[in-house]
């Protein structure tokens, strides 16, 4: 399964957050990791795409007062998603072997 960079970042964030993975938390994780803003549009269209590929599953969480009584969209990584992220990570690691990016700057 081919993954894009942003899809990999999202799968990683979802895996790290575990049971607490939902829109706002995932977005915060991605922003913290990349130092770049992540829009709601990019977030939810990517979640949909990953769900269509069978890499994540989503469900509606309970409404909370903090959210004005509105539900969260909970996201959970599937075994297929774990495999795709692992493959991507291994490919990046292999490709990076012997290259010291920090030294090239």
């Amino acid at each position: 399964m081919q993954l894009g960079e942003f899809e990999y970042l999202m799968l990683t964030a979802v895996a790290r957050l575990g049971e607490g993975a939902y829109g706002v938390a995932i977005r915060q994780e991605i922003q913290d990791a990349t130092g770049r803003p992540c829009s709601l549009g990019a977030l939810y269209t990517t979640i949909d795409r990953l769900e269509q590929k069978g890499l994540v599953k989503t469900s509606m969480g309970d409404p909370t007062p903090q959210r004005g009584g509105r539900p969260k969209r909970m996201v959970r990584i599937t075994p297929k998603g774990t495999q795709a992220a692992t493959t991507f990570y291994n490919a990046v690691m292999r490709a990076s072997r012997g290259v010291a990016w920090s030294a090239t700057k």
């Binding site: 829109g23 706002v24 977005r27 829009s39 709601l40 549009g41 990019a42 939810y44 269209t45 509606m60 409404p63 909370t64 903090q66 959210r67 004005g68 509105r70 539900p71 969260k72 969209r73």
Partner: protein, 301 residues
């Protein structure tokens, strides 16, 4: 300014699915996002969602087969019939006398005018409703945009053409009512409102009632038959098609060639689709439409 921005956020988020709208509003509330930032976020999401929808063939098919061709025809027909109906009504209003009804020739003329105006109005409403139904049923999530495009084509399709001749330097109120207000009235109340009404029905997954729908399509077919020549003439006199008077050299006579006879069929294809949607659901699709997968399929349109 902030209130306007939040109002726009609320309005724009209506273009999202119900579930997603609630989730997004919840996210914005949880983050304590400012109104301007929330507006940017929602606009970005709506644009992305619409872009995905427009990757499908259905909205493009609807633009090519309904919005542009039928919208243009309705634009010409509504203007032409609006003006001609205004002429007829204003003449009878001015010179009306009940003694006309006692004279067979006059009576026939009154009936002819009433049938022409009535069938024209019926045809405009029916064509528009069925077009709206097709737009809503075939591509529910793009319906607001396709209906908007249709309305734009209807209102501006005749731009730059006229059937009123040279307008007077100081147009009278009557001139204004006949040549400006009435065609717009026809377009608004007999085309755009039925279009929106049909789109609303088409967007809903519920089936149409068999009897009233069959009756409605039959009435529309009858009205289309009665106004078919008027539809063709609205294009000829509107300047869209070159006038050809035939061998006798007179326009609007029996020997006029009718190269546009097929336009009635074009106008009736949405009605044919309405009839097709009356087909009973198969057991498989019935169970699918009542379950989650049916909802997902409906969302994807």
């Amino acid at each position: 300014m902030t209130r306007i921005a939040w109002w726009m956020v609320e309005s724009l988020s209506r273009l999202l699915d119900d579930g997603e709208r609630e989730v997004v509003r919840g996210d914005l509330a949880e983050c304590g996002t400012s109104a301007a930032h929330a507006l940017r976020e929602v606009i970005g999401l709506v644009i992305r969602r619409q872009a995905v929808l427009w990757c499908d063939w259905r909205p493009w098919f609807l633009i090519a087969s309904v919005v542009i061709p039928i919208g243009l025809l309705l634009s010409y027909a509504s203007r032409s019939w609006g003006v001609s109906s205004a002429h007829d009504v204003s003449i009878y209003w001015r010179f009306w006398d009940f003694s006309y009804l006692a004279v067979p020739g006059w009576r026939r003329d009154v009936i002819d005018v009433a049938v022409r105006i009535g069938s024209g109005c019926l045809a405009l409403v029916g064509w528009s409703w069925t077009c709206g139904f097709v737009l809503g049923r075939l591509s529910r999530r793009t319906v607001w945009l396709t209906v908007l495009m249709f309305a734009v084509v209807v209102f501006f399709g005749t731009l730059g053409t006229t059937i009123a001749g040279q307008p007077p330097e100081n147009p009278s109120l009557r001139y204004h009512v006949v040549f400006v207000v009435l065609p717009r009235f026809f377009r608004t109340f007999l085309v755009v409102l039925p279009l929106a009404w049909g789109a609303y029905h088409g967007s809903k997954a519920s089936p149409l009632p068999l009897g009233p729908t069959l009756l409605g399509v039959a009435v529309l077919a009858g009205a289309t038959f009665l106004v078919s020549q008027g539809l063709e003439r609205s294009l000829v006199f509107g300047g869209l098609v070159r006038a050809d008077p035939g061998p006798d050299g007179f326009l609007v006579s029996a020997d006029d060639p009718r190269p546009l006879w097929f336009l009635s069929l074009v106008m009736m294809w949405p009605a044919a689709y309405v009839l097709k949607s009356l087909e009973p659901l198969s057991p498989r699709s019935r169970s699918a439409s009542s379950g989650a997968s049916g909802a997902a399929r409906s969302r994807s349109r």
